[in-house]
């Protein structure tokens, strides 16, 4: 528990870590609620472990999908993941980054049976 106490006491002293941003494009595979997604990190970091999960904003913590590991793509900072959702609708996709950077990036998309559109900023 010592780390907890130290972290709690440090509070405001912590340094701002490097912020990574991500874009994601997904396309419908033709199979029910299965989408192939390409994630692009900014800056284009390589060797990052990305676990991709998703949950529905109106039922956080309960209505979610089993997280999958993204695999590195050909371009720098590019990763691929296949999302197997429960249903169409708006999902908050969570990219959990670990390795050289640790972060959680949340992106919103409207998944339909024809395609995927980003929602919000």
């Amino acid at each position: 528990m010592r780390w907890l106490l130290v972290a709690a006491l440090l509070g405001p002293l912590s340094a701002q870590a490097q912020r990574v941003k991500a874009d994601m494009d997904c396309r419908f595979t033709g199979a029910d609620f299965v989408y192939d997604c390409v994630i692009r990190l900014r800056p284009p970091l390589e060797g990052i472990a990305i676990v991709v999960g998703a949950d529905m904003p109106s039922m956080p913590l309960a209505h979610n999908v089993r997280p999958v590991k993204a695999t590195p793509g050909k371009a720098p900072g590019e990763y691929h993941a296949r999302l197997d959702l429960d249903m169409t609708g708006e999902w908050a996709v969570k990219l959990r980054l670990s390795g050289a950077v640790r972060d959680l990036i949340v992106l919103h998309f409207l998944f339909t049976e024809t395609g995927v559109t980003p929602r919000r900023k």
């Binding site: 528990m1 780390w3 907890l4 972290a7 709690a8 006491l9 440090l10 509070g11 405001p12 912590s14 340094a15 701002q16 870590a17 912020r19 029910d32 609620f33 676990v51 999960g53 904003p57 109106s58 039922m59 956080p60 913590l61 309960a62 209505h63 979610n64 089993r66 997280p67 429960d86 249903m87 908050a92 969570k94 959990r96 640790r102 972060d103 959680l104 949340v106 919000r120 900023k121």
Partner: protein, 294 residues
């Protein structure tokens, strides 16, 4: 422990705070469809605390609990004399007012070159205390369950005390409780405030687990589920809501093969369970039987 298991156990722990909050009110004899509002107040307050005011998480969580308790008192005072369905409707309406309030809440400051803070329907991003302090998912899980254990300990202690007996008596028969000299309204208000603080603590942890919150996270679905957790698990012991969450999440996770039908099947199972055990798996009778064997 793999990342998936850590994630599921963390979710169970976080939802347990909300379930316990609904349980406290059920034991006090009231059905609330509005505990998600205080979960939201806690999430926003703690998010503002760490991400905008640079407070350490324990302090932000304490602030969240205080605000959650205050918000619950604000709802509880005018609804104190309502009973049953009327109280449930009032809590639902109040929760919707809070959710709409979150949608209108805009307050952002610049932190590290980025705008951080609640941005209405766009939500509140950048609640990154956990990441900035290198707290690993397993450590966060430990933090959640340590706090949950402490809360359960306090609730067990209260349940075994005269206060606990008074809350249960006021919940089961308010007229009889008042006739033996109990101040039922005061007990009920205390339960409402305590339940608000509990939900807010869960919300504070949820915001830091998720790093992002938005008004829709705190809509009626979450309130209905929190009630369902408490009712499924049982009203006989504080362990009931925890069992309810574990059953709910366990069934949902185990029913992934049902794909889009799993929520329908899950709803049916809950309905069947409540037909046979209207006060949950660990109801008063079951707890009495179990404790008799000790």
């Amino acid at each position: 422990m793999d990342e998936y298991t850590i994630g599921v156990l963390t979710n169970v722990g976080l939802l347990a705070f909300l379930a316990l909050s609904a349980y406290v009110l059920l034991v006090a004899g009231e059905l609330s469809f509005g505990q998600q509002a205080f979960f939201g107040v806690g999430a926003y307050a703690a998010g503002v605390g760490t991400a905008m005011l640079a407070l350490p998480l324990p302090l932000a969580a304490a602030l969240a609990m205080g605000l959650g308790a205050g918000a619950a008192a604000l709802v509880g005072l005018p609804t104190l004399r309502l009973r049953g369905l009327y109280f449930a409707m009032a809590t639902l309406a109040a929760a919707e007012m809070f959710r709409i309030g979150f949608e209108l809440f805009r307050w952002q400051v610049e932190v590290g070159g980025e705008r951080v803070g609640p941005d209405g329907t766009q939500g509140f991003r950048g609640i990154r205390w956990v990441f900035e302090h290198g707290v690993e998912p397993a450590q966060f899980l430990l933090m959640v369950w340590a706090l949950l254990g402490a809360v359960l300990g306090v609730l067990v202690f209260v349940e075994r005390s005269r206060l606990g007996v008074a809350v249960r008596a006021g919940g089961q028969d308010p007229e009889l409780a008042a006739a033996v000299g109990l101040d039922v309204l005061r007990i009920k208000l205390g339960a409402i405030v305590a339940a608000g603080a509990l939900a807010a603590l869960g919300g504070a942890l949820f915001a830091h687990h998720n790093t992002y919150i938005e008004p829709r996270n705190f809509d009626i679905m979450l309130g209905v589920h929190s009630l369902a957790y408490a009712l499924i698990g049982g009203l006989g012991t504080v362990l009931g809501p925890l069992l309810g969450v574990a059953l709910d999440i366990g069934l949902l996770e185990g029913g992934r093969f049902l794909k889009e039908y799993r929520m329908i099947v899950f709803g049916g199972l809950v309905a069947v369970l409540l037909m046979f055990r209207p006060r949950g798996v660990l109801d008063e009778r079951a707890v009495h039987r179990l404790t008799r064997w000790r």
